[in-house]
């Protein structure tokens, strides 16, 4: 055999460095051995103990979210939709402008409660596309009218997301001709459709709440990873997503930001009931409450502090307040404010964008969460 066993192209160089090489190698091996022991001893771990460092426990944070924020919010929604069902039946049984007016605050309360779970579209809610079925706006009113006339429809298919939920009820119960539809001689189809929409909202809410109470709570609180698909990554991404929704569908798009200034007031959330700003304020207020977990000391804002990002945490909470107040400065209904209160709408839009950027870049970066499953170079 002819080959020199030193092999490779580095043969010559290494002859000279043999001695220093040995020392360097020794150090390298020792350091690696330490690294291996530290890193790979994880296999013997039980996985039950949650690290609490800098006084912060991610598992406790997630338990707090599940027990004190998310599950109570869904429970509240279930109660409010029950109340809504009663109110809707009262209206349908004796439709009049008076019963319609009585229904409005019930509808508003339930819709506001929905804004408290809007950010929770992960786990069971993601599986049933909860937000999509309960709050896709604007609705396709022509298709809804067609469904009612035909009396046949399937609300469970994905293409039917803009024919149901709160936005459909908004149209069905509070549009100008709602009372006349409910009192017409052929109102049976109309009433059935309204009841079917409410029934579906009840079913979906019950299924999500039930999943949380039975299996998903443990799944959620037991996973303190930050990978794509982990609860922490889901939550950060949902914060950013809700902010995107606020900037786009809730305010920006109806305001004409995408359309060269041409406004679409009828595309606002809760257009017929005229409660768009109230809904937006509730949405953002709840987002803040989720971010700092109602000030319990076990929220994302506290996690940021544990990561030595005190200033960022403070600034984000401050910007939440600024954005919420700028939204509150817009008078309802938003559909008219889009024309009459442009200064306020512009200001709110600006503040929302600043908050969105903070969450989507600085917070996401500081927490090291990932948005996608594909391989990356980590940059």
């Amino acid at each position: 055999m002819v080959e020199n066993t030193a092999g490779g192209l580095y043969h010559f160089k290494n002859q000279h460095k043999m001695i220093s090489t040995k020392k360097g190698l020794g150090a390298l091996v020792i350091v690696t051995a330490i690294g291996l022991v530290i890193a790979c001893s994880k296999k013997s771990g039980s996985g039950d103990t949650q690290p609490t460092v800098n006084g912060f426990d991610k598992g406790a944070m997630l338990s707090n979210y599940a027990n004190n924020l998310i599950i109570p919010a869904y429970t509240g929604l279930q109660q409010q939709i029950d109340a809504l069902e009663t109110g809707v039946n009262d209206f349908l049984n004796s439709p009049s402008a008076t019963t319609q007016q009585a229904l409005l605050p019930v509808f508003k309360t339930a819709y506001l409660q929905f804004e408290k779970v809007s950010v929770d579209q992960f786990g069971p809610a993601e599986r049933v596309l909860f937000n999509n079925f309960l709050n896709t706006f604007p609705t396709d009113n022509a298709v809804i009218d067609g469904n009612i006339n035909r009396g046949t429809y399937d609300l469970s298919i994905n293409s039917a997301i803009n024919q149901q939920g709160f936005p459909a009820l908004d149209y069905l119960l509070f549009s100008a001709n709602a009372v006349s539809k409910a009192t017409a001689t052929n109102s049976a189809n109309y009433k059935k459709y309204v009841r079917d929409v409410v029934a579906r909202m009840k079913t979906l809410t019950a299924s999500v709440l039930n999943s949380w109470k039975t299996t998903y709570r443990a799944e959620f609180t037991g996973n303190t990873k930050s990978d794509a698909g982990s609860p922490i990554a889901f939550m950060i991404n949902q914060f950013a997503f809700e902010m995107d929704q606020m900037k786009g569908p809730r305010i920006g798009w109806p305001y004409g930001k995408q359309s060269g200034g041409t406004q679409y007031p009828q595309n606002t959330e809760g257009y017929e009931a005229g409660i768009s700003v109230a809904l937006a304020v509730e949405n953002l207020t709840n987002l803040k409450a989720m971010f700092n977990s109602g000030g319990s000391g076990k929220g994302m804002s506290d996690y940021l502090i544990a990561l030595n990002k005190q200033q960022l945490s403070t600034d984000v909470l401050k910007q939440f307040d600024v954005a919420i107040n700028s939204l509150k400065a817009i008078p309802d209904p938003l559909s008219s404010a889009l024309f009459n209160n442009k200064t306020q709408v512009d200001a709110a839009y600006r503040e929302i964008q600043i908050l969105l950027t903070l969450i989507k870049t600085d917070v996401a970066s500081a927490t090291g969460v990932r948005i996608t499953y594909q391989d990356t170079d980590g940059d």
Partner: protein, 451 residues
């Protein structure tokens, strides 16, 4: 010893015949890894997600003609590539198979800058090298079917070039880590490790600064020097244990880097001597049918091939260093960042809003990025100036088709780098639609080093 004598001795050393066994085992391992990688990619649904669903793709300069081939076409291409990996592994129709693999793999990688990964680039390079090497000269179906075409011995440099390629990857990856953030501040490790505090036992350590420094320094030292320890026969067994330990740990801590640790671990086996590889092959094959004597050795590589490899090696050094020709910050501007073995090097994240303006009417249209880009494309674009520019050009063409006259495109982009607070990335007053794609420094990227 004078210089010319030194080079003559060196050249002679590189020409000496060695068993082709390292090339053969490398071919088998490479084929199997690529087979596994292709199957994994397919099963994850990434063919659809990355090459069928997007409506827009970020081309590479000069490769705009590389387009996705549609749903059927892409799956066919992956099917062809899959077949090629099997043929490479078993060494049947090797030359055709490795050419097909190189072309199909590289074509796929060139479709969208979004999907750029250093280890994909590494695979393309290695596949290119293997086209010219007789890696199926033994321990292959080809060699069994046509014993006359066996190539049991090759000049040392034919094995050495693969080793050198690996050395380039490691060494430049190490050089890239020698920057202030990485070495003195242990960033991005300080940002990334706390996200791993869910790991049992070591979880608590993830918040500790010394652990971040340990990871940073160990990573830099490892990358810079491991290849030298692998090249030396005395240190090699120990060094290989370090290689395994290092990459197993990166796989545990940073699962998002996918196949990379496994590719590097298995590729490193090529550093073991020809004798060792020959023994392994003899053991597996159960006989020495493929072994001939050194009398059969023919150093018949054309001098053209040698010159091509020389030029190739020069490029391998120049390309990762091309960033030196650009002003301002490499990490901020990313001019000369790709194709330079910069892996897991920085924490960068951005958010970009685009505005299309019609000069004649003053109307402004804000762009909804999710209408045109996948979340991954949006994320990648938001921090990389050349992608921002390409997307701006695309938006101009789309809005022109929608009836906007002479659309001007502006970007409002915020970027955070290595944990510093986000700030404006792109000059909001520059109409990107009128800025050309170029190799020159982009002046519309706001400077990182504020004076």
């Amino acid at each position: 010893m004078n210089i010319s004598a030194f080079f003559k001795a060196k050249a002679k050393h590189l020409q000496q015949p060695v068993s082709a066994a390292p090339l053969a085992t490398f071919r088998v391992l490479f084929g199997l890894m690529m087979l596994a990688g292709t199957i994994r990619f397919w099963l994850n649904g990434w063919i659809d997600d990355l090459y069928v669903k997007p409506g827009f793709y970020f081309s590479y300069m000069g490769f705009e003609w590389v387009r996705p081939l549609g749903n059927t076409g892409m799956h066919l291409l992956f099917g062809v590539m899959l077949l090629a990996t099997v043929l490479v592994a078993i060494g049947l129709f090797y030359r055709v198979a490795i050419v097909v693999f190189f072309l199909s793999f590289t074509y796929i990688e060139l479709i969208d800058v979004t999907n750029y990964l250093n280890h994909y680039y590494f695979i393309s390079l290695v596949a290119f090298l293997m086209i010219w090497l007789p890696a199926a000269g033994m321990f292959s179906v080809d060699a069994r079917l046509k014993p006359k075409q066996k190539v049991p011995y090759v000049p040392l440099w034919m094995v050495g070039i693969i080793r050198l390629q690996l050395g380039v990857v490691y060494f430049f990856a190490g050089l890239a880590k020698l920057n202030v953030d990485w070495m003195l501040d242990a960033i991005p490790m300080k940002i990334w490790l706390p996200a791993k505090s869910h790991l049992p036992i070591v979880g608590e350590l993830m918040y500790k600064d010394w652990v971040a420094y340990f990871f940073s320094w160990f990573g830099a030292v490892y990358d810079l020097f491991i290849v030298f320890f692998m090249a030396n026969h005395r240190s090699r067994p120990w060094a290989f244990i370090v290689v395994i330990g290092f990459h197993v740990c990166t796989a545990i801590f940073f699962p998002s880097i996918g196949m990379f640790p496994y590719v590097m671990m298995l590729s490193s086996l090529v550093f073991f001597s020809s004798v060792t590889h020959q023994k392994v092959i003899d053991f597996i094959a159960g006989n020495k049918a493929d072994t001939l004597t050194s009398h059969d050795y023919k150093a018949n590589a054309s001098s053209g091939l040698k010159w091509m490899f020389m030029a190739y090696l020069v490029l391998q050094v120049i390309v990762p260093l091309r960033f030196l020709a650009y002003p301002d910050s490499l990490f901020w501007n990313e001019e000369g960042y790709r194709f330079s073995w910069r892996v897991m090097l920085m924490e960068k994240s951005g958010n970009t809003f685009f505005y299309v303006k019609e000069p004649s009417t003053g109307k402004t249209f804000e762009v909804n990025n999710s209408e045109f880009l996948t979340p991954l494309q949006d994320k990648m674009m938001s921090t990389q100036p050349d992608m921002i520019l390409r997307y701006a050009h695309y938006l101009a063409s789309v809005y022109q088709k929608r009836g906007i006259k002479q659309p001007a495109v502006y970007a409002d982009c915020y970027v955070t780098l290595n944990g510093r607070r986000s700030r404006q990335f792109i000059d909001t007053t520059v109409n990107l639609a009128s800025q050309p794609l170029s190799w020159q420094h982009y002046n519309w990227v706001l400077p990182y080093n504020l004076k």
